[in-house]
């Protein structure tokens, strides 16, 4: 209903605007007509003037009639002129007349239209009034409707909110319902679990009760044991303190021992050097004593009493013994002073050198020395020469006077595990040297003792010697990381077996 009202209003406005436009046009035309009438009035006044002028002129003419004759021709021309002008004027008048009629007609038309417009205006005014009334009514109705619409909208929004609220509440309720469903299932499950656990706990409680009893028993036992341990700990601490003191004491003693060992080592070296030098230098004067003694004995023999000769011989024996001691001391000191330099050597060469050195004794004793299948060995050459010298000279010295001395020297490379000797490593290769003689031998129980320094089995009146020779032999074998074994039987010869590690193959 409101829209219809609005469209009517719009038409009314348009019609009014049209009317106003037409009115403005009419007023313009009226103004033009007024101007045209004033023009016509002016032209009539002109025509009256000119007619008056023509009357004067006609009098003039009449007066001038005579003249006119004269001038008739001029006048005729002038008349014609005038006639023409009149005609022209008439044409214009006719045109004006037409224009007037046209104007009149237009005026009439205008008046008619004005009258129609007036009527139309009145009609319009009436219609306007009606429209205003209706507009007022419509305005009221509109207000009423607007108010009602507002109210409806308010209620609609209120309802909308209320609806949303309800929808939300419904959703919440559904969620809670599903949650409750889940929670219920959970509770049911938990209840079942609780019952299971309750039964388990019941069993466990019985077990714990039993264990507690056991623990109490053990706690009592532990209490006793703890007291025992505490006592033992105290004892241990006491002993630890004692040990600590003892350790400090030992550390101190060790330091002292180390110092003394170092001092002894230096002293030993000095002593050995002294032994070597002194022994070496002692040889010469001693030899001269012996030489002078022999010269006196030979050249002054007749001048000496028997007792003097005997004493001279004893002196010579003492000098010889001293010479032997010096020789042995020199040999013994050499073993210690020289650095240990192991080199490949042929045993056969060493034995040949020793044989050359002992040539006299060998001839004296009518001895044969058999050296067969000798192998090379990594040895300290000069020490090994001393070793062989001592063993061979020993064999010659203790030979059986009734039979020629026969010494057999052999060597071989052999693996430790084939020897059945505890002190040898089964995996290593050994050089095994044997020196065997057919001399006076020794009782088996002396087999260890003969290697000790200054230990002799025989009086030096029978067999000269210092008791150092075999000690040197043993020391040299030990320098070669080996062992020496002596086996013998009285009057059936002696055998010396030497074993020392060898990197040569069998």
């Amino acid at each position: 209903m409101a829209k219809n009202i609005k469209s009517d209003d719009n038409e009314l406005i348009l019609v009014r605007r049209e009317l106003l436009f037409q009115n403005e046009e009419k007023e313009k035309l009226i103004a033009e007509l007024i101007v045209a009438r004033k023009e016509l009035v002016f032209q009539k006044e002109e025509k009256g003037k000119r007619a008056a002028e023509l009357g004067i002129a006609n009098i003039e003419l009449a007066f001038q009639g005579e003249e006119k004759g004269k001038r008739a021709a001029e006048l005729g021309i002038a008349n014609k002129e005038l006639v023409f002008e009149d005609e022209e004027k008439e044409k214009r008048a006719a045109e004006l007349s037409i224009a007037n009629k046209e104007l009149v007609f237009q005026n009439e038309e205008k008046e008619k239209r004005a009258a129609e417009l007036s009527i139309a205006n009145k009609e319009l005014a009436f219609q306007n009034e009606e429209k205003e009334k209706r507009a007022a009514e419509l305005s009221i109705a509109n207000k009423e409707l607007a108010f009602q619409n507002e109210e409806k909208e308010k209620r609609a929004t209120e309802l909308d909110i209320a609806n949303k609220e309800l929808v939300f509440q419904n959703e919440e309720k559904e969620k809670r319902a599903t949650e409750l469903g889940i929670a219920n299932k959970e509770l049911a499950f938990q209840n079942e679990e609780k019952e299971k656990r309750a039964t388990e706990l019941s069993i466990a409680n019985k077990e714990l009760a039993f264990q507690n009893e056991e623990k109490e028993k053990r706690a009592a036992e532990l209490g006793i044991a703890n007291i025992e341990l505490a006592f033992q700990n105290e004892e241990k601490e006491k002993r630890a303190a004692e040990l600590s003191i003892a350790n400090k004491e030992l550390a101190f003693q060790n330091e002292e021992k180390g110092k003394r060992a170092a001092e002894l080592s230096i002293a030993n070296k000095e002593l050995l050097a002294f032994t070597y030098i002194s022994s070496h230098d002692l040889q010469e004067p001693l030899r001269k004593i012996q030489t002078f003694a022999t010269i006196i004995l030979k050249k002054e023999n007749d001048n000496l009493s028997d007792n003097g000769k005997y004493n001279f011989q004893r002196m010579q024996l003492a000098a010889e013994r001293m010479q032997q001691l010096i020789d042995d001391l020199l040999a013994f000191s050499r073993i210690h002073t020289t650095e240990l330099k192991f080199e490949r050597n042929e045993l056969s060469l060493i034995i040949e050198e020793v044989k050359a050195e002992l040539k006299d004794t060998i001839q004296d004793k009518k001895a044969t020395i058999e050296a067969v299948d000798l192998c090379p060995a990594n040895i300290i050459a000069f020490q090994f020469r001393q070793l062989m010298y001592n063993l061979i000279s020993n064999a010659l010295k203790f030979s059986n006077p009734e039979i020629p001395s026969h010494i057999i020297i052999t060597s071989r490379i052999v693996k430790g595990n084939t020897l059945a000797i505890d002190r040898l490593s089964p995996e290593k290769n050994y050089c095994h040297i044997t020196v065997k003689d057919n001399g006076i031998g020794f009782e088996p129980h002396f087999s260890e003792r003969i290697f000790e320094v200054f230990q002799q089995l025989h009086s030096k009146e029978v067999y000269t010697g210092t008791g150092i020779g075999l000690a040197i032999v043993k020391k040299i074998v030990e320098n070669h990381n080996g062992i020496i074994v002596a086996t013998g039987e009285l009057n059936k010869g002696a055998t010396f077996d030497i074993y020392f590690p060898s990197n040569f193959k069998e």
Binding site: H280, Q283, E284, L286, R287, K288, Q290, T291, T294, I295, K298, A319, E320, Q323, L330, E352, E353, K355, A356, E357, K359, D360, Q363, D364, F382, R385
Partner: protein
């Protein structure tokens, strides 16, 4: 050579040993002429002098002042005129290393001075006999060290 006199040169700083040597020679039934010097420098000076006639043998002690026996031996064996001279080294002590070195350096014999005078005499006789038999080239190693049997 038997008919000729044997020229012997002894280099030893020890007066006693020189006396022993002289006495021993005197008791031997050999025509000899002994010349003795008492240090290595004198020995070399004598050997290299232009007027000198080389002896038949030199007995050389090792332990001498100014120039020891080893040095003298080396100089003799490096000298074209002297290297044919037989040198018998005469020493109190016996050490195998020393003996090996002397053999290597060209000595003719090694003699350890014996303690007994009889032995002393014998070893000199033995040495001179070898020289008189014209054994003047270096022997085998096993015959380098001269010894005397007791018998």
């Amino acid at each position: 050579m038997d008919s000729k006199q044997l020229n012997i040169l002894l280099a030893d700083d020890d007066i006693d040993d020189c006396v022993f040597f002289k006495e021993a020679l005197a008791e031997l039934n050999i025509a000899t002429k002994l010349t003795a010097v008492h240090d290595g420098e004198k020995l070399m000076k004598l050997l290299t002098s232009k007027t000198n006639v080389l002896p038949h043998i030199l007995f050389l002690d090792l332990n001498m002042p100014r120039k020891n026996g080893f040095e003298c031996l080396s100089e003799i064996k490096e000298n074209e005129k002297l290297k044919g001279l037989p040198v018998a080294v005469f020493s109190t002590s016996y050490e195998q290393e020393v003996v090996n070195l002397l053999y290597k350096n060209g000595a003719q014999y090694f003699i350890r001075k014996p303690a007994e005078f009889v032995q002393f005499k014998k070893i000199i006789l033995h040495t001179l006999t070898l020289i008189m038999q014209e054994n003047i080239s270096q022997p085998k190693k096993e015959d380098f060290v001269l010894t005397i049997q007791n018998s």
